[in-house]
């Protein structure tokens, strides 16, 4: 029984991370209709920035996380201004290729400074909590709680603040938002900044129980794409729900079926769903 509960914990943990990464991705896609292939690179840079702050500069875990989120948010804004904004009227293939260019660049730069080796990052939460035989490492609990808190905070921001409202308005009706005087540039930059920040936080949360290396974003980004196709482009609850589905599928599939092939689960799901419903699971109108 405890093994089963253990997998539930694993599922929740994975789901939280995937959800956070997918969240950033879905915001950018839902509002700007850009599939940001470079999102995985932002995630990776987030991890390395935290690593840098903690290991090289000796900062505390939370400070490192905040610093990393800030750096990646700025990086994301730069991407938006320098790369995606000039391409907004080009054929869709161009911004996909450009995103790939950004991805390659960021990975290469990180590799130049830190090499391709795997690194370990520590966190102050190395303890283990024991609930009546159920063992929960503190870090995992932190991941779940943080993810939950961030999602709530994001929802509050989107629904209760003016800035959040402008983002939602633009997501629902670009033309209308423009007519009403909403500055689409500002919204674009903010959306990217939020997505970058979320990716950095997710990476920093996950890194202590995983490894840090330049290619770490590859798998995550692909799964994040699967998630937003499952959960619906631009949907915040969809990203979380989708993240949880994949997280649980991997936790249970990896344990009960096969560890080697667990990564395929997400893609297998994608193939299945898109074969049956080419427009994705949730579609709001024409896309």
């Amino acid at each position: 029984m405890t093994l089963f509960l253990q997998q539930i914990m694993n599922g929740l943990t994975l789901g939280s991370i995937y959800g956070l990464v997918a969240l950033g991705l879905t915001l950018v896609y839902g509002i700007l209709h850009i599939p940001n292939f470079a999102h995985g690179a932002l995630y990776m840079v987030g991890a390395f920035m935290s690593y840098f702050f903690m290991v090289d500069l000796g900062a505390h875990y939370w400070i490192a996380m905040a610093g990393s989120a800030a750096v990646v948010a700025i990086l994301a804004i730069l991407c938006e201004r320098l790369v995606f904004h000039p391409l907004r009227n080009s054929p869709p293939i161009h911004d996909k290729i450009a995103a790939i260019g950004v991805l390659l660049f960021l990975e290469a730069v990180v590799q130049m400074f830190w090499g391709a080796d795997f690194r370990r990052m520590s966190s102050p939460f190395t303890g283990i909590m024991n609930f009546d035989g159920l063992i929960i490492p503190e870090q995992r609990l932190l991941i779940i709680v943080s993810a939950f808190a961030l999602v709530v905070a994001l929802q509050l921001f989107l629904r209760k603040t003016m800035t959040g409202a402008t983002i939602i308005a633009m997501a629902q009706n670009r033309e209308g938002a423009f007519l009403v005087g909403i500055d689409s540039n500002r919204v674009a930059m903010m959306t990217f900044a939020i997505s970058g920040g979320l990716a950095a936080v997710a990476a920093t949360l996950y890194a202590p129980i995983n490894l840090v290396y330049p290619a770490m974003g590859h798998l995550v980004i692909m799964k994040a794409f699967v998630i937003i196709i499952l959960g619906g482009m631009g949907s915040v609850p969809g990203a979380i729900a989708g993240g949880m589905i994949i997280g649980f599928a991997e936790a249970f599939g990896g344990f009960y079926i096969s560890t080697a092939y667990k990564d395929i689960i997400a893609f297998g799901l994608l193939v299945l769903i898109l074969s049956l419903r080419p427009q994705g699971l949730f579609t709001k109108g024409a896309h």
């Binding site: 054929p91 996909k96 290729i97 260019g101 950004v102 290469a108």
Partner: protein, 336 residues
């Protein structure tokens, strides 16, 4: 492109092994040709048909592994195995195409990205079939029928060159034909193409299968050249490399894939010390190209040539009409 230029390039390619200072250079050129064949395939689905296929490298690997496993494990000869590789990539291309080509733009790119990764994962983990991380050794070189030894670099170079010439020739025929124009119409817009009576699925599928077969051919030739392969061949970086070659050379053009591939391969060769920083240059290069010169070298050149021709022609007409006017004026004067 003028026939003269084509002949010049072919002549250069034919004498290259004699111009090269060592065998290694011939080897590099041969591998550039192999990748160029793959990039020509990418050009069909992405350049002419407009669908960004991120699984292309995966099909290259399938071609390589099919040939490798058939010769090393099943004892086939190179040539039958080559046919096997072509068949395999065509069939798998067909299956993947059926599912993926119904998807719109972005979903197609994402889906093929995942397919490419699944291929890598399967090659890496399915040890019973692919030997996993160990890879495949002792792959057969092409059988020369006692006349030629294809384990030597120079003969292999000419073999690859022959395939490349065929590949380009076929692309040329395709692009100028009604079929090629159909692909381009699809690239211009699904709805517009449909309103012109074009069956999207059938044509996209054809383009996709052609492209995966090209990739499979390239992969098989690669396997026959290097004789040892591993899961690395399915790494997504190869797909990104090919996209770069295609974009630099000129997406959707006939000479683009060749120029881009050969050009970049040689530049990275000569700047060996930059090998580590390749992507630091490639990355921004892709971005800049896509923003400022999306048509690449060939595309921009073709446009420039056409503009030049256009600006000459009206001038000619003007000059001619001036002459006629002068003549008429002269006659009028004479008659006055």
């Amino acid at each position: 492109m003028k026939p003269g230029a084509k002949l010049a390039m072919l002549a250069f390619a034919l004498v290259f092994p004699f111009l090269a200072s060592n065998e290694y250079q011939v080897y590099v050129m041969a591998s550039a040709f192999v990748w160029a064949i793959a990039v020509y395939g990418l050009n069909i689905i992405t350049g002419y048909c407009g669908q960004l296929n991120l699984a292309h490298g995966g099909f290259f690997a399938i071609g390589a592994y099919t040939l490798g496993l058939l010769t090393a494990d099943a004892g086939w000869g190179f040539w039958p195995a080559l046919l096997g590789a072509l068949f395999m990539t065509a069939v798998l291309g067909f299956l993947v195409g059926i599912v993926s080509l119904r998807l719109k733009e972005h979903y197609f790119a994402i889906f093929t990205l995942c397919v490419g990764f699944i291929i890598y994962l399967l090659i890496d983990k399915w040890e019973e079939l692919t030997h996993g991380a160990i890879g495949v050794r002792d792959i057969a070189a092409p059988y020369g029928f006692g006349l030629v030894d294809f384990t030597d670099t120079t003969p292999f170079y000419y073999l690859v060159l022959a395939f490349l010439v065929f590949a380009i020739w076929f692309m040329g025929r395709l692009s100028r034909s009604l079929l090629g124009r159909t692909f381009i119409a699809i690239r211009n817009g699904d709805e517009l193409a449909q309103s012109l009576g074009i069956n999207l699925m059938r044509n996209k599928l054809l383009a996709f299968v052609l492209s995966t077969t090209y990739a499979g051919l390239a992969g098989a030739l690669y396997a026959g050249m290097v004789r040892i392969i591993g899961p690395e061949e399915a790494n997504i970086n190869h797909t990104f490399d090919m996209i770069t070659y295609l974009l630099v050379g000129g997406i959707g053009t006939l000479t683009g894939p060749l120029l881009g591939t050969v050009g970049i391969v040689w530049i990275t060769q000569s700047l060996q010390f930059l090998e580590e920083y390749r992507m630091i240059i490639f990355g921004p290069l892709l971005v800049l190209l896509v923003i400022f010169a999306p048509r690449g070298i060939s595309g921009s050149f073709l446009t420039w040539m056409h503009r030049k021709a256009q600006s000459l022609a009206p001038g000619k007409k003007q000059a001619q009409s001036k002459v006629t006017a002068a003549k008429q004026a002269g006659e009028a004067e004479n008659n006055a």
